[in-house]
């Protein structure tokens, strides 16, 4: 289903620009709309999560707590200070540490469970996200008149061999391989197939389509890069001027990116923000040391000692237990 949706979405600008001449719609109106939805939606979702309280400090502890002086604390996995938490979250964001430590369980003949290290998801996920980030950074050159220096450095670092012209980016190959892997594992493994929803396939297929359109523009059909840059600069400067003459493939690429931007705040892609807010990971494991305050701590009526003694006084006296009232 995701394939059909993405194919349909691809056809829209293809037909729209080529046959209906809707350059202005696809080059100006939709990008502005998509960008607004993305910013507003993303901000709203983050705000919505942030305003939801953290009533308890429910850290998932994956290492030794801070206790006696002579016992070594695992600061990363059982953080007790703010900077421990910062490291814990950053290790997750930059290195996907949990996935690095992932295991695989198998039931062997004889009914024995065996556990092994499992790094495939870690590699696939890491390569995909990092490549996407770097490719995103390459695009910065379209949004600035003067290209920032680090982008040029990245440009050089990302070259594989200067066999092609323009030279081939490693990240293009990596992102496509990683996306293929992430897609195939959902179909291939019975467990994965069962847990996967169309909302899991759709963003994968959509990003594949975006990348393919981009790769074609860069290496095959060759669009007018300067015209694109002009148009992008106009957009960043909030200009509503009509775009110049650009190949239709560019409109396909841009439109699919817009679809992704609109889809983003309403979908699981929001995990990008969620990872910084997850209660089990962003809280210190020091709730016995420093009292955590629950903003809605509901008052509850409990059974007091006095009520208890009233019910059991005679029995308590017989058992020689001290009582408050005779």
């Amino acid at each position: 289903m995701s394939f059909f949706i993405v194919a349909f979405l691809t056809l829209l600008p293809l037909i729209g620009v080529k046959y209906a001449g809707l350059n202005y719609l696809f080059g100006v109106i939709i990008p502005y709309f998509a960008f607004s939805v993305f910013i507003a939606g993303f901000a709203y979702r983050i705000f919505d999560w942030l305003k939801t309280p953290l009533p308890f400090r429910i850290t998932t502890t994956c290492g030794q707590e801070k206790s006696l002086d002579w016992i070594k604390q695992d600061r990363l996995d059982s953080p007790s200070r703010f900077w421990h938490v910062v490291l814990r979250v950053l290790a997750e964001v930059f290195f996907f540490r949990s996935l690095f430590l992932n295991t695989r369980t198998e039931l062997r003949e004889g009914g024995n469970l065996v556990y092994g290290s499992s790094k495939w998801l870690w590699i696939g996920g890491l390569v995909f996200h990092w490549s996407l980030l770097l490719i995103g950074l390459h695009h910065i050159r379209f949004f600035f008149v003067m290209v920032p220096g680090f982008i040029d450095a990245l440009n050089i670092a990302d070259h594989f061999l200067d066999l092609t012209l323009p030279s081939f980016y490693i990240t293009d190959a990596l992102v496509l391989s990683a996306l293929t892997f992430l897609f195939v594992r959902r179909v291939y493994d019975a467990k994965m197939r069962l847990i996967s929803l169309p909302t899991d396939y759709f963003p994968l297929v959509l990003i594949v389509a975006i990348v393919i359109a981009g790769v074609f523009m860069r290496y095959v059909t060759k669009v007018d890069v300067m015209a694109i840059k002009d148009q992008m600069l106009r957009l960043v400067n909030f200009s509503f001027d009509a775009p110049g003459e650009i190949g239709v493939l560019f409109y396909v690429h841009l439109f699919l990116v817009c679809v992704l931007a609109i889809y983003f705040p309403f979908s699981k892609l929001m995990h990008m923000g969620a990872i910084f807010l997850s209660p089990t990971r962003i809280l210190c494991n020091n709730s016995r040391e420093k009292r955590h305050v629950n903003p809605w701590n509901t008052p509850t009526k409990f059974r007091t000692y006095a009520e208890y003694e009233d019910d059991y006084r005679e029995k308590m006296k017989k058992a020689n237990l001290p009582v408050e009232k005779q």
Partner: protein, 549 residues
């Protein structure tokens, strides 16, 4: 064995026939199309009418999970839907975890219930989808438009049945949350799902009966004050018989330095009582000024498995009693979920405990600065500190008749982070200690399969299946190192693991850590020890005598 569990050979065949973790054929099926069925051994009896009424909970009635009509109250859909909305506003965990799962599958093969049943709905990701699918349908507008696309569905009576089934095949052990790249904690979802189910009277007697007991008598078992005292005194008599030492525990005594609270299972249940004997010996050995309360006579808190309010209400007794008795601080016994509550919830819910002092060990002078706010210290922290400062006279040879391994209890492991203290104690009180395989211990430990109020007799099949990964790891050290003793620091473990071991690994006995401490303690003025607290011969001592001859 129980009539609620298949023969071991049948269950083994089930594991052997198709050596794959996922059981059944799901080709071209979605998870919500897979059937489930209540039958003997896979559901807990619902709470009895008088229990529900005593607690003032909704919808008391006689019913069973196998009934076609569960007699849900009028307007139950609205109760659930409003209840969910309210909780989404109160708990970021619930909201964020329903919103952000990417279904990467890292958690899929981590749940002990999934490994033991092969049922796809026991994969943590699907367990959360059970409620997420309804949440999507009810709440997120944009996804509502794309209904089939996002895997959302309507809240029906069948969905409630499914929730009841699978939120009672989760022990809130948090193993999945260790592996989740976003830290999504299924325990949070299960807790709140059970809270919702309780709103419409879909409940579990094995949880609500202890809750009602605890509220009334102070402990889960419903032991009244005089019986509680009698029982501990009879344990003291047993101690005198074995060791010649007369220990003198006091009850409800004002002005003691320390209030000691432990799960009531240690006072009444076998083998918990031997752990209790260990505590009593230890306190006598160091001359601790302590008292035990008959009012706050429960360390555990089945409120945690019921609702946030109930957890708070039952927990409030600890501070209330500590304040009344004017103790300086509280010492807590070995228990899993009790420590989840004490460590992560107590001070927040019922603190600040300004009437108590910073806990200081009267023997070593160590300040427990990690408990300076909650003012409650774990017995393993306390004992490890004593051993480190050489304040205990221990003879580990007295445990030479035991070859031990250590089971990390889920809550203490993943909800507190206590790994080293119990191991340090164990190494000092016995000579033979072998770890289970590394992916089954510490933060990756497997649940006993009966935690979170699922220790019911009628639930035996699921308990034996859920406990299978733990039992399988014990089997490994049993075969490799002849391990015969499974040591643990959790009262539910002590109650449930013996059945699990009898089923999967006959010959392995279950011990509390402080029972081994009690065995190893060389008490001042003791009579000649030849037997451990269970009256088993201490073979290590016999060997020693031979050496001397």
């Amino acid at each position: 064995m129980s009539k609620y569990v298949p023969k071991l050979s049948d269950l083994k065949k089930n594991f052997d026939e198709k050596p794959s973790i996922l059981k059944g054929d799901y080709a071209s099926k979605e998870w919500w199309e897979t059937p489930f069925e209540f039958r003997d051994g896979n559901w807990c009896f619902p709470a009895k009418i008088d229990v529900v009424e005593e607690l003032g909970f909704p919808n008391p009635r006689k019913w069973a999970a196998t009934d076609n009509d569960w007699q849900l109250p009028q307007g139950w859909q609205k109760i659930i839907s409003d209840g969910l909305k309210l909780r989404l506003k109160k708990f970021r965990s619930l909201k964020l975890y329903l919103d952000s799962c990417v279904r990467c599958g890292a958690c899929a093969d981590k749940c002990h219930f999934f490994l033991g049943t092969g049922d796809p709905k026991n994969m943590p990701v699907v367990r959360a989808e059970l409620i997420r699918s309804v949440y999507r349908n009810d709440f997120t507008l944009a996804e509502k438009i794309l209904k089939g696309f996002s895997g959302s569905r309507k809240l029906t009576a069948e969905v409630i049945k499914e929730w009841h089934m699978y939120y009672h095949q989760c022990t809130e052990c948090r193993r999945c949350s260790v592996f989740c790249p976003l830290g999504i904690d299924t325990a949070e979802i299960t807790m709140l799902a059970r809270e919702l189910l309780n709103l419409i009277g879909v409940n579990n007697n094995w949880i609500l009966a202890p809750v009602a007991n605890c509220n009334r008598t102070g402990n889960h078992l419903g032991i009244e004050p005089h019986t509680f005292v009698q029982n501990i005194e009879s344990l003291a008599e047993d101690i005198e018989d074995h060791t010649g030492i007369k220990v003198n525990p006091t009850f409800n005594r004002k002005g003691a330095e320390v209030l000691f609270i432990t799960p009531s299972g240690d006072v009444f249940g076998d083998p918990g009582v031997y752990t209790m004997m260990g505590y009593l010996l230890l306190f006598h050995h160091i001359g601790l000024d302590y008292t035990i309360s008959t009012y706050a006579s429960e360390g555990g808190n089945f409120g945690l498995f019921t609702s946030n309010d109930m957890m708070k209400k039952l927990n409030a007794k600890m501070y209330h009693e500590a304040e009344r008795l004017k103790v300086k601080w509280i010492l807590g016994g070995e228990c899993g979920h009790m420590w989840r509550v004490v460590h992560q919830y107590m001070s927040t819910m019922n603190g600040p405990a300004d009437f108590l002092e910073e806990p200081v060990s009267p023997i070593t002078g160590t300040k427990f600065s990690n408990a300076v706010s909650t003012k409650m210290v774990h017995i393993a922290e306390f004992t490890a500190d004593l051993i480190y400062h050489k304040k205990l006279k221990l003879d580990p040879k007295r445990n030479d008749h035991l070859k031990t391994t250590f089971h990390d209890s889920c809550n203490v492991a993943r909800g507190m982070g206590m790994f080293e203290e119990p191991r340090y104690i164990l190494r000092n009180v016995c000579n033979s200690f072998h770890e289970m395989p590394e992916n089954t211990i510490r933060e990756k430990t497997f649940c006993c399969g009966s935690g979170s109020g699922l220790n019911a007799e009628e639930f035996m099949e699921i308990r034996m299946r859920g406990g299978f990964p733990r039992a399988n790891a014990v089997k490994y050290v049993k075969e490799k190192h002849k391990v015969d003793s499974l040591v643990t620091i959790c009262a539910i473990d002590r109650a449930s693991l013996p059945a699990l071991m009898r089923y999967w690994n006959p010959g392995v006995a279950v011990y509390g850590l402080h029972e081994l401490v009690g065995n190893a303690l060389v008490m001042h003025g003791e009579k000649k020890r030849t037997e451990d607290l269970r009256e088993n011969p201490m073979t290590g001592l016999l060997d020693e005598e031979k050496d001397e001859d």
